[in-house]
Each structure stands twice: as C-alpha cells, then as structure tokens.
C-alpha cells in the first residue's frame, strides 16, 4: 500500500493504486488519506502552517516554480500545506479526484457557481433548499445576468422541461433542508448527462458516509464542512468535490476571490475528520431512533426523516443511502408557533441554535430561526409550517435524547 498515493489533492484513495489493491476502510482513509506518511519534523500529526507566504531560496528556485518545473506553495491565498492534506482527505472520503476547501459552505457554492456561470446562462434548482443558497442564486446571480429556474423537488419531468440550450447546471440538495427529501441521484445525473448539463449535489446532510454522489455520476458535490465533516460545532468550512479537470478553473478563481480557510481551522477540520465514520454511525443511529420515537408520539403530527417508511422519498433513500443522518424535522399536533416554541424551550439537552451535524444536539424552529421575516405566503410556498421543529441529533446517548424529548413534548 502506497500512502503517498493519497498525499496530494489530485489522487483519491484508489486512483493511485492498482486494481488488485482493495479499497481501504473509511476510517483508515479518515485517519491517513491526504496526509504525508513522513511529516515535517517527523511529527505524527500535520503541523499548522500559519505562514502567509512561502520563501524561495534563490531566483533560480523561483524561476523553477514560475516556469512550472516544481510544485510548491507560493502565497497563502493560492494554497497551504494544511489545505492540501485536508483536501486530499475530503476527496478520498467522497471518492472524488479532488476537493477544494473554502472558508464556509456558502463560499464554496458561490466559488463554484461564479467559476462556472456567465451572463445569459441558466441553472435549474430543486426548490427545497437552504434559504441562503436560494437567495444567492435568485438575488445575486441574477444581478450578473444568470437566470435561476426553480422546479418542485424531485420532479424530474419539470426539471427536464426547464432545461434549454442556455442551461449550464442542475442543482439540488439531497437530502433537502429542512424537509429531508432524498433525490434519486442516478436519475439526476443521467438527466444532466443526457442534456450535457453539469450537476451539483449539496450532500451536507448526507455526508460521504451515507452516499458518495460522484459514484452515481454527479459532477460536483458540495459540503458545508461546518456540519458533519468538522463535526464539533467549532469551525466554519465548505468544500466542493469533483474531477481535477472540472475543478481546475474553480481552484484558480478561489485564488483570485480569496475565500480560503485558515490553517488553524483546516487543522481542526482534519482532526474532526479522523472520527468521521464513528460519529456518522452514531448520528445515523440516534437519528433513526429519535425519529421512530417521535413518529410514535401522540403530540407529533408528522416526522420528516428519510429512514422512516412514512417519508415520501424513503424508498429512494433506502436504496441509495447507507444511513440517514442526524437531522429530523417534525410537526407538533394542534400547535401554533408559540406552542411549538414551548417544546423547543423545554428541551434540556439540545441547545437552541442554527446549524447541525456537530456532536452536540441542536434544536430550532425554522419559522423563527430562518423564515421569521418571510410572508406567510412565502413560508407556505417553501413548506415552512408554524408547528415545525428541526432537531439535529448529536452523538449523545440516544436514551438521553429520547428521555429529554419525552419531557419536552409535555410542555
């Protein structure tokens, strides 16, 4: 096994190996992929390179770099050793050739779309999505002459109908936030290929533990690495995974726009990824158990969780995903928004906060947290109901979470 095969961003966990070498376990990649076997100072872990710039020993050394005869770092905005190793790890986990890391998930999607779209181009979006992604496309890409067409989530006929010769990208989350609708990635990728349109999946809620969209033919995978990848609610980061060729222009634009992450953060992200598989197993287990508990509770009217047969997209989720993550959305029976708030306030273990995917459970009411300033008509359009609560199950013991929710539901 050649550890160096995974030590740069252009190699994934298998591409450098002969077909005879079996794919390594996910935790093996979590711990080792992307990192050099022998590190500076013989350290077991990657040193944190705070350097903003990197020195050349001589003009001859500089010329060698400028003329493309050597690969090395130059200036922090163009690259950093901590960035290289964590990008290598993310690419290996997502079965992608390459990954590009950004300062946040939004910086990642903006970085990709700004690199790929020109005035006059169009994108087609499934309508259930993170409200800031929607806002960026509808409000800001529009200022640059890019048209966003939204079609109902999962309606592939509507998506195909919206494609024309100006369409450059099909975009969806899977599962979506907060309705947890899972998209058939095989069909999604096939439509893109048939129309020669690139495809992007925001797989933040799924994570590569549960599905690797590249393996289903999707071109780009987006992660808010702030969530499960970092996993400890203590850093912001975003990532785009894809082929080296497709990402070349994206990487170049990041160097110009500068939405890079910091070496300290990148180290914490790398450290968080070491326990990625364990954390995801627990998030999946807690998500499933808590969803089942909620589904059987008399005060709960509806539970949105891909692992429950009652979810409209359960069948596709079960056929394509290994597990369903820790995010659950549910609606309280016969409750107005204040009654739902009382349940949120009564929960003792989950804390009230936006975000998800960390070891600590978080709870929020989408109406109050993200959609408070929307009109009732818009909220209805986006499927945000007054009695809706979103819970991000952490990795606490599920018995504790269930006992806490049981008491909170009495509020």
């Amino acid at each position: 096994m050649d550890m160096e095969a995974t030590s740069n961003t252009s190699a994934n966990s298998t591409s450098g190996d002969s077909p005879a070498v079996p794919k390594r376990g996910m935790s093996t990649d979590s711990v080792h992929a992307g990192e050099q076997r022998q590190k500076p100072g013989d350290s077991i872990t990657d040193p944190i390179f705070c350097a903003s710039t990197f020195t050349f020993s001589s003009t001859a050394d500089l010329l060698e770099y400028v003329e493309g005869r050597s690969e090395r770092e130059e200036y922090g905005r163009y690259g950093n050793p901590n960035e290289k190793s964590v990008e290598g790890k993310l690419a290996a986990l997502d079965a992608a050739e390459a990954a590009i890391v950004y300062s946040s998930g939004m910086a990642a999607i903006v970085g990709l779309l700004m690199a790929k779209l020109n005035a006059g181009d169009e994108i087609v979006f499934f309508d259930q999505c993170y409200h800031r992604s929607r806002e960026f496309c509808a409000k800001h890409l529009a200022r640059f002459g890019v048209v966003t067409r939204q079609v109902p989530t999962g309606d592939f006929a509507a998506m195909e109908a919206a494609i024309n010769d100006k369409t450059k990208m099909l975009v969806s989350e899977s599962p979506t936030n907060p309705h947890l609708t899972t998209i058939d990635l095989e069909q999604f990728a096939a439509i893109g290929k048939a129309h020669e349109v690139e495809t992007l999946i925001d797989a933040t809620l799924a994570t590569p533990y549960n599905i690797r969209p590249i393996e289903w033919g999707v071109d780009y995978v987006l992660h808010s690495a702030t969530k499960y990848m970092g996993g400890h609610n203590d850093l912001l980061a975003g990532a785009i995974c894809g082929s080296e060729e497709k990402l070349e222009s994206v990487r170049a634009l990041r160097g110009i726009l500068g939405g890079v992450n910091s070496p300290h953060n990148l180290y914490l992200l790398e450290r968080g990824l070491k326990t990625f598989e364990l954390r995801m197993q627990r998030h999946n287990e807690n998500g499933q158990r808590v969803a089942e508990f909620l589904a059987g509770h008399p005060r709960v009217e509806r539970v949105y969780y891909p692992g429950l047969p009652s979810h409209p997209s359960h069948e596709i989720a079960a056929s394509q995903m290994l597990g369903f993550g820790g995010l659950i959305t549910f609606e309280v029976a016969d409750a107005d928004w204040q009654a739902a708030s009382r349940i949120v306030d009564a929960a003792k273990i989950p804390r009230i906060a936006p975000s998800l995917g960390g070891v600590e459970s978080l709870i929020e009411q989408p109406l109050v947290m993200s959609y408070f300033n929307y009109s009732p008509a818009d909220r209805q359009k986006f499927g945000i109901t007054d009695n809706m609560i979103r819970l991000s199950c952490g990795i606490e013991n599920s018995e504790d979470l269930i006992a806490d929710l049981a008491q909170a539901l009495q509020a």
């Binding site: 390594r24 093996t28 872990t45 070491k274 364990l278 627990r282 003792k348 070891v359």
Partner: protein, 391 residues
C-alpha cells in the same frame, strides 16, 4: 443547556455537555478558548473566580469539570503532561517516606520514582500488583503511597482494584492508579475505592496525538485541596489550547475507545493464531492471566496489546520498521495506530536487569490500536511480520 446536566445522564452525553456549558455572554455553543494569563479583578483585595491562569483558567476549568464527571469524582486537575500529574502526586510525600509501586509501570513513572524521588529521600519498592499478598507484605510503617496502573504497561496485567483499595485503606496509605490504558470509558477506579486516578491525557483523552496533558481526579474534597495546592504552587498546569483540544477529544472518547477495543480484540485473536507469534498479551483473550478480572472490572478490554515474536532483537526491530499503516512511535491511544519495541523504546529507561526480571523481552512488540479499519491493520501486520522475520 440552561441547567447543568444531572449525574443521571449517560457517559457519552456527559462527555459532550458537562463542562461545556453555553457561553452566557455570546451563546457560543462551544465555550471560547481563554488564552488570558491574568484576569481583571472586581476591586483591590477582592478576588473573582479567576485571578491568574496558573491558579485557574476558564478553559482548563471546563475540562476539569468534564473529567470529574466522567471519573465520578468531586474534582479533577489538568497538568501539562502525564508525568507532571504523577509528579504532583509524589509531591504529597516527604523525605523518609516509602512508595510501593507496580513492577510493570510506565518507564517514566519508574524513572521518576527511582531517579528523582530518591533524591528527596523517598524509597520505592516494586511489586507485582496482581499479587495482593506481596503488596501487603511490601507495605511498611513509612509507606504513604501505593501506585499502580489499571492495565500494566507493557505487560497489560490487571490488578484487583478493590482488593488493593482495601489493603491501602487498612494501612492508611493513599492508593493512586494510572488509568491511561483503561480510560474512564472502560473503568472508573474511584468507583472501586481508589483515592487518585491519573491519566496521561496525551493518550486516549486527547486521542488525536496532538497535545500533551495529564490529569488527576479524586473523590475526596480534602485530598483535592492538597493536590490543587501542589499544582498551584509548582505550576505545571495545562495550557488553554491543549485544554480545548482535550475537551474536544473527550466528546468522542467513548466512540473511539469502544471501536479501538473491538479492533484490538480482533487483532489479538488473529495474532494468537499466527505461527511466528510466541504469545499474545491482551486482557480480552481467555489466555490472559487476569482475563476474568478484566471482564468483571472493565466495560471493555482496551486497545493496547502486546505480542512476542519468535524472533531476536533485530528481527523484532525490523518488523516494527516494516509497517505501512502503523507508525513507529512511542505514545499510544490515538486515532493513528502505533507500533513499538518496548525493550528499545518505551521501556529503555528501565535498567536492563529490571527489564529481564519483569519480562520485557527483546521480541516483545507493543501495539496501540487506532481507528483504522481492522482489516487494513491486520493486512499491514501480516506483511510486516513476513518482511521483518524474513530479513
């Protein structure tokens, strides 16, 4: 969480929440890292909760509260290294006093007791901690400390914690154990009557090979005050950044240790069948002399294992050098698997005669099983043994 979670919450939930209460000023879900060396006071001669970071620091204090909860103690202290923590314990002793310690304790503890404490006129007797009669016989009137390990290093012996506690109690001797190999996820010595539980937090508690640290936890307020006095007076405190990293590590401690133990069990069973392996030392194997005690005392068998090759010093060294996943390094307990030869590395500070006496032979290899997939680790060991033994 608005109120501090009660003791009724399970281990993993407490590891995440106790000591990590939301910052009241900003609502930050992860407490801020307080790098401040000093703290502004309410008035001249009036002292706030924190005054100077050696005496107390909010980040270290949060970690200490988590540790106290996980150990089931009344308080915990975080030191700059595991050795600093053990040194803190030995500083409770005075000239003319005597220590009884286990015969397969960590080499650094051996060195502290034999080469540093002796300068203060403190004597040490090493005994097999699995032999209660030998321990009782070694205790003298001037004995003030009994020091052992919940899982011995490197021979992975398992002492009877309750039996030793009873001996120590009746002799009026403090009983301290190094629980580094056991971790509070698998065994909480304070529940077995031990007075002081110590950890090298560098290992499983931090868990990522990226910080040094040591901890002490106790169940007795008066003993806590004495140890705190020593720590504050001598100053080997854990820095705020490392305190943060250990706190972050504790959140996945339970998951890591259980997964690593599962893999270690699998590797131990496989090694026991390997034709070039003389024997395997792992508490989870029925062949381990204290297997039944481990089963009764622990919630799992840990992720450290030793095996002795049918090979000489050179062959053993070559096997350690031939691995491609296991890193050749001392230390242990992290996500990366490590391999080492105790005779030339972790226990090189033992006198050769003591190494021989305590069974730390040249063919012995110690593994710290990490988080990698078990199949990958087994394949790596198989090829390393083949290459090392053939050379």
């Amino acid at each position: 969480m608005s109120e501090s979670p009660s003791k009724s919450l399970q281990f993993r939930t407490r590891a995440i929440h106790v000591g990590n209460e939301v910052d009241p000023q900003t609502g930050a879900v992860v407490p801020p890292i307080h790098l401040a060396s000093t703290f502004r006071q309410p008035g001249a001669g009036k002292w706030g909760e924190f005054d100077y970071s050696r005496s107390g620091n909010p980040t270290r204090s949060g970690l200490q509260r988590t540790l106290a909860s996980l150990e089931g103690g009344c308080g915990a202290l975080a030191f700059s290294s595991g050795m600093a923590a053990i040194h803190g314990v030995t500083m409770l002793l005075e000239s003319g006093q005597h220590v009884v310690a286990g015969s397969d304790i960590y080499g650094g503890a051996y060195r502290l007791l034999h080469k540093i404490c002796n300068r203060a006129g403190i004597e040490v007797t090493l005994v097999d901690m699995t032999d209660l009669d030998a321990v009782a016989a070694a205790i003298r009137p001037e004995t003030k400390l009994l020091w052992g390990e919940t899982i011995g290093n490197p021979l992975l012996t398992i002492p009877d914690l309750r039996g030793l506690s009873a001996i120590a109690r009746s002799a009026g001797v403090l009983f301290g154990v190094d629980n580094t190999f056991g971790t509070p996820a698998l065994v909480r010595p304070l529940e077995h009557g031990v007075d002081i539980v110590m950890h090298s937090a560098t290992k499983y508690l931090g868990g990522h090979s990226d910080c040094l640290g040591g901890t002490l936890a106790v169940a007795d307020e008066e003993l806590f005050d004495r140890l705190y006095y020593v720590q504050n007076a001598t100053g080997a405190v854990l820095d705020p950044l490392s305190s943060f990293l250990v706190s972050r590590g504790l959140k996945t401690l339970d998951l890591r240790v259980r997964e690593q133990s599962r893999t270690a069990q699998q590797l131990a069973e496989w090694l026991e069948q390997h034709r070039q392996v003389k024997h395997v030392l792992y508490p989870g194997l029925p062949s381990h002399p204290q297997h039944l005690r481990a089963k009764e005392q622990f919630d799992g068998f840990g992720a450290m294992l030793c095996f002795e090759l049918e090979g000489d010093f050179q062959q053993t060294a070559r096997v350690c050098e031939a691995t491609e996943l296991f890193h050749l390094a001392v230390s242990l307990g992290a996500v990366e698997s490590l391999i080492e030869q105790p005779a030339s590395m972790s226990h090189a500070s033992y006198d050769p005669a003591d190494r021989e006496r305590f069974g730390i032979r040249d063919g012995l290899i110690r593994l710290s099983v990490g988080l990698e997939a078990a199949a990958d680790l087994q394949a790596d060991l198989a090829q390393a043994i083949d290459r090392g033994m053939a050379g």
